[in-house]
Amino acid sequence: MASREGVHPAVAVVRERPLVVVFAVVGLLLVADIGRRLATGGTTTATLVTYLKDGTILGLSIGLAGIGLAMTYSILNFANFAHGDFATTGAIVGWATAFVVAGLGRFSLEALVLLGGPIPVNSGTLGVSVVATPLAVLLGLAVSAVATAGLALLIDRVVFRPMRDQEGISLLIASVGVALVIRYLFVFGFQSGVRGLTAGDLTPSVSLSVGAGSVPINAHEVTLVVLAAALMLGTHLLLRYTKLGTAMRAMADNEDLARVTGIPTERVVRATWLLGGGLTGAAGFLIALERGVLTTNLGWELLLLIFAAVILGGIGSVYGAMVGGVVIGIASRVSLVWLPESFIVAAAFVVMILILLVRPKGLLGGVTTV
């Protein structure tokens, strides 16, 4: 990338990476436009802060759910389309547990396990919230992680392990099949339809005054942010400072080399599914907690956003997935300044495609180490 003699370095950059320059200029213009809107009152500070808050929450959810995808991507080298439905599994199993813990004795077991549905359970009377029934929520979170890790391991055993030597596309197609089986088995047993989960009036909420307006923050949003950050930190410590983490990073870099150094690759793969599955299940549970509602489509609808985050951060990079998630989350919410609500998901996909154009290796560029 050295500039040729007699050419100013800035000119060289423009010549070599015109697309980057164009996008940088567009990005600056957008930031300037936000400044102008704030100054003229077209957008209030409170609105912008609300967008940023919502974006951070969405971003942390996506980032947390993306860690597992980035891990399996880097170690097994395929895009797992069943990943979203792993998150759905965590949400449904975890919330069924939380409902049973919170409401056993008051409602029939059947109604609680199905989260209402065919036999309605009023989420208001059940009264689940992180403050009112902390035990139910904590147990639900734990069960969601364990159950999803178990499912991921089972799926690996039945579907992916017999296909270890096949190429990524075959595994991708198989994972589409897995996604269909998981999702529609839930639809079969659980019936589709939106389930209310938390009791709004039992969820404490504060209003922060920002400029002339105010931004409400409730306990479930705080829970999601705190737990997501804690789980990400935990993943970081595990990858950096444990033997398993080192082995996983070695495998992501070069599987053959890892094997000849004596790393039990098959065991590392199992650990990857356990860890990735557990984090994904917990993410699904927390996303449902924050939204207060649940459908069988929860994970599938997030899947492309998760892919966008993982691609944005650089496929296979766990830190990239976290950063990418937050960027996608904030970008899609802040785009509400210019775009109507119905376009924000499309906006996130466009950002992903543009990043692929400019920087195919992702923001944290090129490192496929986890």
Partner: protein, 430 residues
Amino acid sequence: MTAEPAAGSAGAAERLRSWLFRSDARLLLVLAVALYLLFTLFSVLLGNNLGGTVNTLRRITFLSAVYAMLVLALNLQWGYAGLFNLGVAGFMAVGVYTMGMLSTAPSSSPPGLGLPLPVGVVGGVLAAAVVGVVASLPALRLRGDYLAIVTLAFSEIIRRTYRSPVFADLTGGSNGMGLPANPIRVLFYKNPADVLAEPHAVGAAVFAAAETVGIRPPVVQGIAWTLVLVAVVGVMYLLLRRVGNSPFGRVLKAIREDETVASALGKDTRGFKIKTFALGCALMGLAAILWKVGGTAATVDYRPITTFYVFVALILGGAGSNTGSVVGGAVFASLLLEGPLFVQRVVGQFINTTAAPNTVFQAVGSLGGGDVGPLLAYVVSDVNISALRLVLLGVVLIYLIQNRPEGLLGKRKEVAASVDLSRPEGGEKR
């Protein structure tokens, strides 16, 4: 025969196989007859009269033809050039919606431009091709799995744009958009564009003749349109076979096998890929237009699941083979898509479905008392059978990719070289 029954029947099966596989036309004919017999049986079990049976067969033929077209188009991209396009549904939507915007009457809601239908069809096909080129520009620089994700994202962007309330004046938003009348009506009706039009002399004669054997006029019209679609499948098959055997097709196969080699031989692989992608997308748009014309364009038809349907059909038939594509489309549409619904209706006739339990727990719980009725009733309810149909689809997909990645017909992928480079079977092992 009695001495070695096993060997004898195995030999017979082998003879049948080789007889069947010697000619593609024979294979397709036998498949069609087998499927027709099966669905005639379903229809008789359901107590349909002749008209109902004919309509059943028309329906599976129609869907088979639609999926055969879609699979042929996808096979060009994936089977020949190795381009993993997960955006099939999006390109179909572009074709249908563009056709609708061009050709729907200005008086309907949402209004169209009211141009003649052929203009709309050509416009829709071209629009699908152009969007295909736009999608391929970033996508084709990427590895296979990135391409899959980007094309899927593209199809979702397209679907969400059409569904957005912002463009509701153009596309009808989530309500969908009425499409121009089916052009086949010109054979039967005086004023084809009018739903309430009177049949003209020829139409009235045909309808009267059909009515004597219990076939209603809409079914007659449907049969005529289905025949048109079958003819289009035939034309598309011939076109794609020509493309596949041409120098162009040889380059595509070379790209699929090893892109570096193809470009080292001086082929502009990127150009070839863009052209192939555009042609495939155009054919997808055409297939969707022929499918939906006379009905409505609704975004619910273009969710990613539609793309997965086409993929399952392609894998069933075996990627890389045009005959396989047609077989895959027909087998998928009749057995996997329509089959479970017929099984549901047949089973529903023999059990008491009004006593279907509300939850899966009640259904399974009654098994303890030795009563399978409630579980069966739960399974064959409308909602649950369509869920189980998709579970079945997932299982079939996993099974095929694990055990028969080359499809039902076995190895039929055309190799890039003009001479067979594979070792002869039973040859020396190194």
